[in-house]
């Protein structure tokens, strides 16, 4: 039970019981799909889009849009959680598991930095990017992923807060050291597990 009670607050927007159990602490249920980005939406043409995996890997590689289209496509049903407090439940993306890329390049270190068109970066441990936990996605609810939600292609790591799912993904660098990305260097948590409410540095 909380120490502090807000006078006169009852909570008029409580989610149904069956959904409440799926909401991490501090999150609310959102039916829409709000957008949040730090600058103008980059316009990335599919024919110019490249996905580069480099750094500490046995064989660095670059994929084009046609190349990723030849990898095994899968539906990714998931719940997503944004650090700005909303969660979207039972949504569905479509794309390719990162495991297929790891098979090709053979990572040799424990950390990674994802980078985006537009200059955004976010750091993740390889453990969060392997074993069927992370994807490159270009479909949402059966439609092409729109640019404001990271299209043409974004990273999807649904078990972490959504800032880790870099929009307009351009590449991933595998590295020996872990160092902070764009938000992580500015006060946000290094790992960002919503179930532990790891929003900020001191969480």
């Amino acid at each position: 039970m909380a120490d502090f009670i807000s006078r006169g607050f009852t909570g008029r927007r409580r989610p149904p019981e069956e959904l409440a159990r799926r909401l991490p602490p501090g999150q609310y249920y959102e039916k829409g799909f709000p957008v949040l980005s730090a600058g103008p939406t980059p316009k990335v043409k599919l024919e110019e889009w490249r996905f580069v995996v480099d750094g500490l890997v046995a064989s660095p590689r670059e994929w084009t849009w046609e190349d990723v289209g030849r990898l095994p496509f899968e539906d990714v049903p998931c719940d997503i959680h944004r650090v700005t407090k909303w969660s979207k439940l039972d949504t569905r993306f479509g794309g390719v598991s990162l495991d297929h890329f790891w098979e090709a390049v053979k990572p040799l270190a424990a950390f990674a930095m994802a980078r985006s068109y537009g200059g955004y970066t976010t750091n993740l441990p390889m453990d969060d990017l392997t074993g069927g936990k992370a994807w490159l996605v270009w479909e949402h609810e059966g439609d092409p992923l729109p640019p404001d939600h990271g299209g043409p292609v974004r990273l999807l790591v649904p078990h972490l807060y959504l800032w880790k799912s870099a929009k307009w993904i351009a590449g991933i660098r595998v590295q020996k050291e872990d160092y902070p990305g764009f938000w992580e260097g500015g006060g946000y948590h290094n790992r960002g597990d919503p179930w532990r409410e790891q929003r900020y540095w001191n969480d």
Binding site: I5, G11, Y200
Partner: protein, 235 residues
């Protein structure tokens, strides 16, 4: 990005005043026991707790200058389905206590860069007001302009505080005698306020920010000099 100090933990602030800005917007001044200075543009989290432990959290931009030591002003737009905003509008009054935490890091901060063009839609003006107020008190000679899009005259927040640096744009209907056009902001409106250098700060609904950022790119602002903050769901 420069490292910012991590915010203090949750603290219980006291409401020292409530000001009605428009029919749907109120400003709340809060006194904080563990206040720390923010950068104009930063936000605070607010947490409400019901007697049974149910909690709701939201983020609100700070409207005041960090020179207001010990306190912050949060300006809150009452949203139709809002849980926290409705509580602030219907329940909170002077003397109430509310739980807050912040300020939080963001790329959407003004560190004194000028010229600075501020472009706000609706309650997106709130973090821009912190920049405007802070500049008035610290660097009144440095160039800063605000292009502020509102639906009607009744929707203008901080109406009594806007000066010669502000250009209003009415999207729904203009007051009598208004000689400008009515409608969404366009290239003409942006070209009248744009500087030929410096940074642009854009805040508003997602649609507003997409439109305004596009116009700024066309007006010659490089993407890395346009900082945006968006709120609200998309369709």
């Amino acid at each position: 990005m420069e490292r910012l100090r991590p915010p203090a933990g949750w603290q219980i602030a006291t409401v020292t005043s409530v000001k009605v800005e428009t029919p749907t917007v109120k400003s709340f001044r809060l006194s904080l026991p563990a206040w720390q200075p923010h950068l104009p543009g930063q936000h605070y989290d607010v947490r409400l707790t019901a007697p049974d432990g149910y909690r709701a959290q939201r983020s609100y931009s700070v409207a005041s200058s960090p020179l207001d030591v010990g306190e912050i002003e949060l300006t809150i737009d009452r949203l139709p389905e809002g849980e926290v905003s409705a509580y602030f509008h219907d329940v909170v009054r002077k003397g109430d206590r509310v739980e807050v935490r912040g300020p939080f890091a963001s790329r959407f901060v003004w560190r004194g860069e000028t010229p600075a063009l501020l472009v706000g839609g609706g309650s997106g003006v709130v973090p821009l007001m912190s920049m405007l107020r802070h500049r008035r008190r610290t660097a009144p000679d440095r160039p800063m302009r605000l292009l502020y899009s509102v639906r009607t005259e009744a929707d203008v927040i901080y109406a009594g505080e806007l000066g010669g640096e502000t250009v209003l744009s009415y999207s729904r209907s203009a007051p009598e005698g208004w000689d400008g056009r009515v409608g969404r902001i366009d290239a003409g409106a942006v070209s009248r306020v744009a500087f030929d250098s410096g940074f642009a700060f854009v805040c508003g609904s997602h649609g507003f920010v997409e439109t305004a950022a596009g116009l700024l790119l066309e007006a010659g602002y490089p993407a890395e000099r346009i900082r945006t903050e968006r709120f609200g769901p998309t369709s």
